[in-house]
C-alpha cells in the first residue's frame, strides 16, 4: 500500500502492533490508518480483536511491538492518561458511565481544562437533548440507551481530535440507533472517528473506510463503497456478525 506513513493525511497510524493479554497473543500485527476528518470502521467477528485494537491505541493494553502514531507523535507505551491528553476520546463498549455519579458529574469528570464543559455544553445537549433533562440523575438510574449517549457525550467534553467509539449501537432499540447515527454523523463534521461496529448497515452508512480484523490480524482494508459491492468478502469475514437485516428505510 502506498499510503502507509503519510502523516499529513493520517491523524492516526497504527503500524503492525502486537498485543498480549496475559499469555494470549491477541493482536498479531494489526495496522490501521485513520484519515483526518473521516470515519473509519473496524469490522470483524466477535473476538477478532477490534476492541483490543482500540484499547491498545488508548494505552489500556499497551502493545509489545509496533508503533502507534497520533498527530505526528509516537504514543505507544505511554500511560493511558497521557495518551488521552494528546486529544483522544474513548467510548468503551460496555458503556462505562460512572454509576455513582450524576450525569452532570460524569460530564464534569471528563473536563481536562476548567470550562471545557461550559464551552461544549450547548453542542452536547443539542446532540443528546435527553441528557440535559436527566442531568441530575445518577448513572445507575439511566436506561441502556441513555448510558450509551452519556458515554459518547463524555468524549465530547474536552477538545478531542480523535474519538474511538466501540459498538455505539450495541443493545439499542432501532429508534435509538437512528439517533446515535445522526449524532455520529454530526460529530464527523468536527472530529475524526475510529469506530467499531457490528451492525453492518449502520457501519456502511457512516464510514468511508473500513479495516477488517480477523483472528488478531488486519486482513483487509479499503473504501466502504467498494466493500458494500463485495458480497464474497462480507460473507467470508463478517458472515456471522451481520445482524438480522434491517432494511435501510427502517434505519433512516
Amino acid at each position: 500500500m502506498m499510503e502507509t506513513t503519510d502523516s499529513n493525511r493520517y491523524l492516526l497510524s497504527v503500524e503492525e502492533i502486537d498485543t498480549y493479554i496475559g499469555q494470549f497473543h491477541i493482536l498479531e500485527g494489526v495496522s490501521v490508518d485513520v484519515a483526518k476528518g473521516s470515519i473509519t470502521v473496524l469490522l470483524g467477528r466477535n473476538g477478532a480483536g477490534k476492541t483490543t485494537t482500540l484499547k491498545t491505541i488508548m494505552g489500556l493494553t499497551p502493545p509489545r511491538n509496533g508503533r502507534v502514531i497520533f498527530d505526528g507523535q509516537e504514543i505507544q507505551g505511554k500511560q493511558a492518561f497521557k495518551i488521552a491528553n494528546f486529544g483522544i476520546g474513548y467510548v468503551p463498549e460496555n458503556r462505562a458511565v460512572f454509576r455513582a455519579l450524576t450525569v452532570m458529574e460524569n460530564l464534569k469528570l471528563a473536563e481536562r481544562k476548567k470550562g471545557d464543559l461550559d464551552r461544549h455544553a450547548d453542542f452536547i445537549f443539542e446532540l443528546f437533548p435527553d441528557l440535559e433533562r436527566l442531568s441530575k440523575l445518577k448513572g445507575n438510574q439511566l436506561s441502556g440507551g441513555q448510558q450509551q449517549m452519556l458515554a459518547v457525550a463524555r468524549a465530547l467534553v474536552p477538545d478531542n481530535k480523535l474519538l474511538l467509539i466501540d459498538e455505539p449501537s450495541e443493545g439499542l432499540a432501532p429508534i435509538l440507533i437512528q439517533q446515535m447515527m445522526e449524532a455520529i454523523r454530526k460529530l464527523r463534521e468536527t472530529t475524526t472517528i475510529l469506530l467499531v461496529e457490528q451492525n453492518f448497515i449502520m457501519a456502511s452508512q457512516l464510514a468511508e473506510r473500513y479495516v477488517i480484523i480477523d483472528d488478531g490480524k488486519s486482513v483487509h482494508r479499503g473504501l466502504m463503497s467498494d466493500l458494500v459491492q463485495n458480497q464474497d468478502l462480507i460473507h467470508q469475514y463478517l458472515g456471522a456478525s451481520i445482524q438480522a437485516p434491517i432494511s435501510t428505510s427502517e434505519v433512516q
Binding site: L60, G77, A84, P92, F98, K108, L109, R112
Partner: protein, 496 residues
Amino acid sequence: MSYNSKKLLYSVIGILVVAGVVFGLYTYAGQEAFIRTTLSGLTLGSLFFLVAAGLTLIFGLMDVLNFAHGSMFMIGAYTGWQFYTNPTFIFGVLPLVLAFATTVMLIPVIKPLLVRLDLSEAWQKRLPKLAYIAALLVAVLALVKFDILGLAKTAMVAVTTTSSNPLAELSPQEPLPRFLLRLLLLMLSGAFVALGLSKPGNRTEVSAPEPLKKRLILPVALFVLAIIFTLVRESASEGVLLMNGNLRFALAIIAATLFGFLLGALIEITMIRPLYVRSFFIVLMTLGMSFVMRELVQVLWDPLAYQMVRPPLFAQPGRATTIAEWLMNGSSTISIAGVTFPTYRLFVILLGVVMFVFVTLLMNRSRLGMIIRAGVQDPQMVEALGINVKRVFTLVFALGVALASLGGIGAAPFLPVQPMMGDQYQMQGFITVVIGGMGSYVGAFVGAMILGMARAFGDYFALKLQLSPTIAEASTVIIMIVVLILRPQGLFGKKD
C-alpha cells in the same frame, strides 16, 4: 418492588431497629448509665471511624488491604506525643530528612538532561545500581555517630520529670559544623538516588518538560526549609515548649497528620505502586511493614507505655456544668444531663464528627471526590478520560494514613502510647469496614459508631451482669457475622 421503594423500606426497617434498641437500652440501663455509656461508645466510634475511613477508601479505590494501618495510627500517636512533650527529636531529625529530600526532588530538573545521555544498554542498567549503592554508602557515612537514640530518649525524660520548668527536659543538639557536614553528605546521597531514579540514557522516557521555574519550586523550597530548620534546631524546641499548651497541642495534631500524609505518600510511591499487579503481595508487604514500624518505635523509645499529658484545656481538676464554663476553666470533666464525663473525650467525638463532615464534603463537593467515586467503579476508564489515576491513588493512600495518624494523636492523651496501641484499632477498623461495606465512607462512619456502641454497652453489661469482659470484644465480631449473613456486601456496600 422498585429500587427506590426497596431502599425506603430498608431505611424504615433500619430506623425502627435502631430506635427499638436505643429505647430498650435506655429503659434497661436508666438515664445516667445510658448517657455515660453512649458517650463512651461515641468516643470509641470516633477513633474507629478515623482508622476505618482510610481503610475503606484505600480498599474501595485500589483494592489494597493496608495491614500497616494500625501501625500508622501508632506512629501518629508517637509523632504528636513527641511534638507535644519534647520536640527535640523531631527538630533534630527534620533537617536531615529535608536535606535528603531536596536533592531527591531534583529529579524533574535533571531527568530531561540525563535521559538524553548516550549510554550503552549495559550502562543504562548498571548506572542506577551504582548510584543507589553510592547513595547508601554516603548516607551511612553521613549518619556515622549520629546519636539518634539519644535524641529519642529526650522525650522519655519528660515522662519522669514533673518540674514546672518545661525547658528542663531539653537536651542540646549536635554542634552546627558537624551537623552541616551531615546535611551536605545527605544531599549528596539524595542526589545519587535522583540520578538512579532518572533512568539515565533511557530515551523512551523523553517527554516535553514543564518550564524550569516550575520544576525548581519544590527542591528550592525544601532547601530553604532545610536551612531554616537547621538554624532553629534548638530554639524551635524551646519555642514549642514555651508555647501555650493548647496551641502546642493543636500544632501536635497538625504535625502528626501532616507526617502521616507524607509517610503515606512515600510508602505508596516506593513500596505499594510496584505491587498493584500482584495485590496479594501488598498484604504481605504491609503486614511486614507494620512489624518494621513497631520494632523501629521500640528501638527508639523502648517497649514502654507512655502517658501523654492532657492539654490544659482538658486538664484542670473540677467539673464544669456548661460548655462555656469548661472552655473558660479548662475543666477535666463536664456534667452532661447530670452525668460526669471527661471533656477530652468530648473533643475526640468532635474530632470524629468533624472528619466525617470533611470526608463527606471532599467526596461530594470536590473534583478529587468525584474521581474517587468514579475510580472505585472503573479506574481504567477514569484514566482513559485523561486523569492521572496513579497520582490519585497516592493522594488517597496518603489521605487515609493521615486520618489514621490523626486518630493516633487524638487517642494519645487518653490511651497509653505504646508500640501495640494501633493493633486493636486496626482490627476494629477492618470489622468496621466489613460491616459498613467496603469502599463506603458513610458505611465506615455508621459501622464505627455501631462498633463503638457495642464495645461500650458490652463493657456495661459485662460489669452489670458479671460476665467476662471479653464479651465486649466478642460482640463486635458477632455483629460482623450477623451483618455478613444478612447483607454480605455490608450495610452501605454496593453489590457487584
